[in-house]
C-alpha cells in the first residue's frame, strides 16, 4: 500500500508501464474524449504486447478505443458513444466488432457514465440519476446473464428505485459504481513526482483516475515538481495517485492535445478509409503500430511536416486555418 509514495521514480517507458500495470482481462478506463487527448501511446503499446480480453469503460470515445477493438484486444465495453465526431460518426472498427459479435457492449449515457466514475472516485456503491426512465438504455442489457455479477460486472445494469424523501412516488435510477483496474490519461504536463496538470477540458479524467486501482499518465512534458507547486490551483491530480509517468510528446496523435497540437485530419481521414476493410486495417496496424517500437519511431513515421501542420497556436490552443475537410 502507498507504494506510489515510496516509488523512487515513476518515470518509465510505455513498454514498462504496460508490462507492469496492464493485465489480460483488466478493466481499463480510457481518458480523453472522441478527438482529444486519447492515450494513443499506451493503446498502441497494449496492442504490441498482445493484451487480450480487456474490458474498456469510458464515456464517449474515440480513436484509442477503435484501434484497441480493431486489434482484437477487447472483449467487453461500457460506453455512451463510440466515434470521433465528423471523422467517424460511428467508430469504424467498433461498429464492425459489435455487428459481428466480437465484443459485448453495455450502453449508458454520458451523464450515467460520469456518475458511475464519480461513485468509484468517492467510494460510493452507486449514484442516483434522473436520465433514461423507460428507455432501452436502461431496459436492454448488453452483457448476458453469464457475465452479470462476475468480477467487476454488477448483477444489474441499473436499478429503478424511488426517492424516499418525496412522499409522492418519484422514480430514480440507481447506477453501479465503476472501479477500473487501470486508468489511462494523457496530460500536457506532469511533474517528476507524478503531479498531473491537464489544460483545457478535463472531461472525466480526474474521476476516472481516482476510481481506478492503477493510473498510467502519458504526457507532453515532464516538468520539475516545484514548478507545478507554484500554482497548485491548476493541478489536476496529486502525485500519490499516479503509478507511471510516461513522457510522450505528441502522445495523443492523431487526436488533439489542447495548447500542444490539433487533431490530424489527414490521419483521421486516412484511417476512416482503411479501417472499414479488414485487410487494409491489418496493414494499418502493421505499419502504424507493430512496426513502430516506440513514440520516437512513430513520430518519425508521421514526419515533421504533418506534426508542424497540426501544431497548436500558442494563443488559441489549436491550429487555426488547418484544412479539416
Amino acid at each position: 500500500m502507498n507504494d506510489r509514495i515510496d516509488a523512487k521514480s515513476k518515470l518509465m517507458t510505455a513498454a514498462e508501464a504496460v508490462r507492469r500495470f496492464v493485465k489480460d482481462g483488466d478493466m481499463i478506463a480510457l481518458g480523453g474524449f472522441t478527438v482529444s487527448r486519447n492515450v494513443m501511446v499506451i493503446a498502441r503499446e497494449i496492442i504490441r504486447q498482445g493484451r487480450r480480453d480487456l474490458h474498456l469503460v469510458m464515456h464517449s470515445h474515440g480513436q484509442a478505443m477503435d484501434i484497441l477493438v480493431g486489434a482484437g484486444a477487447v472483449s467487453r465495453l461500457e460506453l455512451a458513444y463510440g466515434g470521433t465526431g465528423r471523422f467517424a460518426p460511428t467508430g469504424i472498427r467498433f461498429r464492425k466488432a459489435v455487428q459481428s459479435g466480437q465484443v459485448q457492449v453495455e450502453d449508458y449515457s454520458n451523464f450515467h457514465m460520469s456518475l458511475r466514475f464519480l461513485a468509484g472516485a468517492l467510494n460510493l456503491p452507486f449514484m442516483p440519476s434522473r436520465s433514461g426512465f423507460e428507455t432501452d438504455v436502461l431496459g436492454q442489457q448488453g452483457f448476458g446473464p453469464e457475465l452479470r455479477g462476475r468480477g467487476k460486472i454488477p448483477p444489474y445494469k441499473a436499478v429503478v428505485s424511488s426517492n424516499p424523501f418525496n412522499p409522492d412516488p418519484e422514480p430514480v435510477v440507481l447506477l453501479p459504481a465503476l472501479t477500473p483496474d487501470v486508468a489511462l490519461i494523457h496530460a500536457q504536463c506532469v511533474g517528476e513526482d507524478g503531479t498531473v496538470r491537464i489544460k483545457g477540458l478535463t472531461f472525466l479524467d480526474i474521476e476516472q483516475a481516482k476510481a481506478a486501482s492503477r493510473v498510467i499518465v502519458t504526457c507532453e512534458e515532464v516538468v520539475p515538481a516545484a514548478f507545478l507547486r507554484q500554482d497548485p490551483d491548476q493541478n489536476s491530480l496529486p502525485p500519490f495517485l499516479v503509478d507511471a509517468v510516461v513522457p510522450a510528446p505528441f502522445g495523443a496523435h492523431p487526436t488533439a492535445c489542447h495548447f500542444f497540437y490539433d487533431y490530424d485530419p489527414r490521419h483521421l481521414n486516412m484511417y476512416r478509409q482503411v479501417a472499414g476493410d479488414d485487410d487494409r486495417f491489418r496493414k494499418y496496424l502493421d505499419e502504424w503500430v507493430y512496426a513502430v517500437d516506440d513514440q520516437e519511431a512513430y513520430l518519425a513515421k508521421v514526419g515533421a511536416v504533418d506534426l508542424m501542420r497540426v501544431k497548436a497556436n500558442s494563443n488559441l490552443g489549436y491550429a487555426p486555418g488547418l484544412d479539416r475537410r
Partner: protein, 258 residues
C-alpha cells in the same frame, strides 16, 4: 426553380430560429453546432453555447467538428469537465435547449442513435446515445434534426436511446421526467411539432419548394398536415452569415450543390 440554398443550410437556419436570446444551448456535433452558432450570430447574441465536455460559451472563431474539439476550449468563460457540464444541462433555473440528431424517430419524438436490429447483435450499430439521453431527459427543451425518410420516421424505433414524449399524453411526466421534451423536429423537408395534448407529431412547416404530400410520403407513420404552412425562406443576410462566418470551409454544410 432551383433553390438558392441547400437542405443543410435551411435546416441550420430553421433550427436556429427556435433559439431565444438568453437561452443556454447544449450543442452536439454537426448541424446542431451550426444551428447554435448561427442563432448566436444572427438574432440571439446573448445565447450561451456549451458542450457536454465542459466547454462553456467558447469564442467559436472556427467551427468545432466534435464536442471535444480544442475549439470548444478556447475563449470560453470556463473550462471544466462532464460533471460540471451536466450540472448546467439540468439546472432548474436555466432554459437549456439541446440540439440532437438521430437515426430513427417515432411519432412521439423518441429517438434511436444506438442500433438497428437486435441490441445484442445489431444489424447496424450507431455510436450510442452519448449525452443525448441526458439532454432528452433533463433539458428544458429539445430540437431534433432528422433526414426525412420512411425508414427513419417509424412507428416504433428499434432501440429507444433518448426519450421524447414517450407514449404521448402525460406518459413522459408519469415516467419520472420533471420537465423537457421535444419542441420540434427539423428535417430536410420541413418542421414537425407535437400536439399540445396527445403529444403526437404533426407537420408544422414545409420548406419552400416542398409540399405537405411530399413530407407525408417520406414519413413512415401517419402525419397530420392540416396545420402545415410554408416556411419563410432564409434571407440573404442569414445565408451570408452562415456561409461566410459560421462555416466558410463548409465542413458541416458540405458541397454547395447538394
Amino acid at each position: 426553380m432551383a433553390r438558392a440554398y441547400t437542405d443543410k443550410e435551411m435546416m441550420a437556419l430553421t433550427a436556429g430560429r427556435f433559439v431565444s436570446n438568453g437561452d443556454v444551448l447544449f450543442a452536439g456535433t454537426g448541424l446542431s453546432m451550426l444551428a447554435a452558432t448561427v442563432a448566436k450570430r444572427i438574432h440571439a447574441p446573448q445565447a450561451v453555447v456549451f458542450f457536454e465536455t465542459g466547454g462553456i460559451d467558447p469564442a467559436l472563431a472556427e467551427l468545432p467538428l466534435a464536442v471535444a474539439d480544442p475549439r470548444v476550449m478556447t475563449g470560453t468563460c470556463m473550462n471544466s469537465g462532464l460533471i460540471d457540464a451536466f450540472s448546467l444541462l439540468v439546472h432548474r433555473r436555466l432554459r437549456t435547449i439541446a440540439f440532437l440528431g438521430a437515426a430513427q424517430i417515432d411519432p412521439y419524438g423518441n429517438i434511436n442513435s444506438t442500433c438497428l436490429g437486435d441490441y445484442r447483435r445489431p444489424r447496424v450499430r450507431f455510436p450510442g446515445c452519448g449525452g443525448a439521453c441526458d439532454a432528452a431527459s433533463q433539458a428544458f427543451g429539445v430540437i431534433i434534426f432528422m433526414q426525412q425518410e420512411k425508414k427513419r420516421f417509424v412507428e416504433k424505433v428499434d432501440y429507444l436511446s433518448s426519450v421524447g414524449w414517450l407514449r404521448g399524453g402525460d406518459s413522459r411526466q408519469r415516467a419520472g421526467y420533471a420537465r423537457g421534451g421535444p419542441m420540434a423536429v427539423v428535417t430536410n423537408l420541413g418542421v414537425m411539432k407535437f400536439e399540445e395534448e396527445s403529444k403526437r407529431m404533426y407537420l408544422s412547416e414545409y420548406y419552400p419548394g416542398v409540399t405537405a404530400a411530399q413530407v407525408v410520403g417520406d414519413t413512415g407513420f401517419e402525419l397530420d398536415v392540416s396545420r402545415a404552412k410554408e416556411s419563410v425562406p432564409p434571407s440573404a443576410e442569414e445565408l451570408r452569415i452562415l456561409r461566410q462566418d459560421v462555416d466558410p470551409q463548409r465542413l458541416i454544410l458540405g458541397p454547395v450543390a447538394a
